[in-house]
Symmetry: D2
Subunit: 114 residues, 4 copies
């Protein structure tokens, strides 16, 4: 295993090609896995609703509920990201690493998290 | 089977408790089922990423991509809803049915479709 | 004055280059003008906050409040649009005019109203 | 003038009741003031459009453009917030101050910045 160039925050390492979080709050991990399994069930429920030709507005409301559930997962991931990865880049990284982290956070907020 | 009171648009009938769309464009149905199966795979991918403690920002970008995919499903459902259910309530329904449909659409747009 | 090509809904006429709504609910118009004047004041308040270098998070919360106020104006405009312009295109227009209206509504919902 | 308890980030001071940012990038300030003056003009344009009963969809598209412009101001404020206020709370503050900043950022992202 070789060291990678580091993530924006310097806290990610390549392992089989995937960047890793150095630290993950076990409580956040457990609750996110639980949420994602529930979301998987909701997606299968949506397939059934579409297949059985349920009333469109009812399906749209259900989609909106899945979107909210995904937002909750995102929020917890962001909490972990700030506490561990961002905090490290900002307090331990050099100026360039800190700036890269600010830009990454701005992108996550304004491009990905609406 | 008894007749129900009708959906907001008068185009939904209760069958085993679920309101149905009177008309569903077969092309929309097929492509939405396909999208939802792909989304189900993406959700399982997210579970794997969380379980393997991938870099938070990478998971957040992937969540954002699932949300966009769900929006596309929603958009197609809304197209079907407008063409069939809303159109019927607006052009064939009485004043009360039309007004109920406008309110339903406003709710879907401003509360559920962001 | 010459007849225009018509809006998507056939309910708009060019007058000095601007498409008009055929019908505007006077109550919606009055309340929207009132809201927009209040929003103008909020924008000037934002200029002051930026100029006096207020705490960034406080300004961000205020921006969010202006955005909600604009959404309320949008919601009322959409109500008027559905009741008058869309209703006319859908119930009185031909197939092509109705389809153009559905596409316009989808665009407003999924591209402009988030 | 008395020292206040500080903002979440410890970088704000009460002056006549308003919390201040300790540091503001002059380029961000100038461009935000310019944007906000342009937005003020757009709001007055919206008042005119509503008053002259322009086509609803045209007004809705214009509202959407103002929303995007406000988002751009928010993005620049958030950049400044991260670089100065958040950075200070995270790297110089104690554990409690850092945690308060993470929660403030999460709130701004998930409640206010959509």
């Amino acid at each position: 295993m070789t060291k990678d160039e580091g993530g924006a925050c310097g806290c990610a390492v390549h392992m089989k090609g995937a960047r890793k979080a150095v630290a993950v709050d076990p409580q956040i991990k457990t609750s996110n896995l639980k949420r994602l399994r529930r979301i998987e069930g909701q997606i299968r429920g949506l397939q059934r609703m579409v297949d059985e030709e349920h009333y469109c507005a009812d399906i749209l409301v259900q989609i909106s509920s899945v979107q909210e559930a995904l937002r909750s997962v995102g929020r917890e991931l962001m909490r972990n990201h700030l506490q561990h990865c961002a905090a490290q880049a900002i307090s331990k990284g050099n100026r360039q690493e800190a700036t890269a982290m600010y830009e990454e956070l701005l992108d996550l907020m304004y491009r990905h998290a609406r």
